[in-house]
């Protein structure tokens, strides 16, 4: 069981991701945008972060950069879960410090496989 921080501005998407991860036995903390996720991250540790890219207040790429500057999240795996699929965006995510890039629509089993893979 891992503790996973999930950031997505869509309440429906948060529900779907949370449901998938909880069914697999993980503990899930949700945030409604990048800024909210960063505020939570400053007071917690997590085994994994899953973030959307396009969000108000703070986007996912900025969130990844900010998280990488926090000692507790310097080496934490961070996956993006997004409708963005262009190479430029992916490279932007990679440069910011993302561990992997998942394009929606997500397949629940494959999401869990990827989660297990990056958790090691």
């Amino acid at each position: 069981m891992a503790k996973i921080l999930v950031a997505d501005d869509s309440a429906s998407m948060r529900q779907m991701v949370e449901f998938t991860l909880k069914e697999a036995g993980h503990q899930v903390v949700v945030a409604e945008d990048g800024q909210a996720a960063l505020n939570l991250a400053r007071g917690m540790t997590a085994d994994l972060v899953i973030t959307d890219v396009n969000m108000p207040n703070m986007d996912g790429i900025t969130l990844i950069r900010e998280l990488r500057a926090l000692p507790a999240f310097k080496f934490t795996p961070i996956l993006t879960l997004t409708t963005e699929s262009t190479t430029e965006k992916k490279m932007e995510g990679k440069d910011a410090g993302a561990t992997g890039w998942i394009v929606k629509p997500f397949n629940p089993e494959k999401l869990l496989m990827t989660v297990n893979k990056v958790l090691g």
Binding site: S12, T83, L111
Partner: protein, 218 residues
């Protein structure tokens, strides 16, 4: 009589990047550029255009920002495989509905990306007719999903024309929010059923495969 000037080249130039290649035609009677979308597609614009489609059991959400002047329409259905009603307590929004969430989100994301704001969004919903035989009312599932999705997203529906047992031809004008719906009570449904069945096969495959996953490594 003066020739009607066709401003499509100007509109195409002004189109948002995602749709610069989208086909369209000039309707000289309505005096407007028309973009036709098919199942699985979506289109958003800040130009004065008309978006049309034909819906069988599929649904379309017409969404626009009433202040920023950008809006669009999608056209989709759920892959609806093993757990048609979703999981109890989740109002149909289980992981089974990830494809529907994706279809809604990419339209909303596009509107927000180009200046829309969640609190200014006006939503109208159409389609979900029962046009296919069989035990499951696929149209109803699609309607229930969209309602549950919008409820979860805290977006109110200001107008809808859904359900019943006929297809609909519809047109959406994002600049004004106006919608035209023609109920196709008297035409044969075979073509629409054939198209929707093909689309259903595609999205079941797509859902089984999921979107691309890339791990960056070192």
């Amino acid at each position: 009589m003066a020739a009607v000037l066709r401003p499509s080249h100007r509109l195409k130039h002004l189109r948002i990047a995602e749709f610069s290649q989208m086909g369209s035609y000039w309707d000289p009677i309505q005096n407007i550029e028309v973009v036709r979308i098919l199942a699985g597609e979506y289109y958003a614009t800040h130009c004065d255009e008309m978006i049309t489609t034909v819906l069988g059991s599929c649904v379309s959400a017409c969404i626009r920002d009433t202040v920023a002047g950008i809006g669009g329409m999608n056209h989709f259905m759920l892959p609806a495989e093993t757990r048609p009603g979703g999981i109890p307590g989740y109002r149909g929004l289980s992981s089974d509905t990830a494809y529907g969430g994706y279809a809604m989100e990419r339209l909303i994301n596009c509107i927000l990306k180009y200046g829309g704001r969640h609190e200014n969004l006006e939503v109208k919903v159409f389609g979900g007719g029962r046009i296919m035989g069989g035990m499951t009312d696929i149209g109803l599932q699609n309607i229930e999903f969209v309602r549950a999705y919008l409820h979860t997203e805290n977006l109110a529906v200001v107008a809808e024309d859904v359900g019943d047992n006929f297809p609909r031809r519809m047109a959406y004008f994002p600049a004004t929010g106006k919608v035209w719906v023609k109920k196709l009570r008297n035409i044969r449904n075979e073509t629409i059923i054939k198209q929707e069945t093909a689309y259903l096969g595609e999205i079941r495959q797509q859902t089984a495969k999921g979107g691309d996953i890339e791990l960056f490594g070192d």
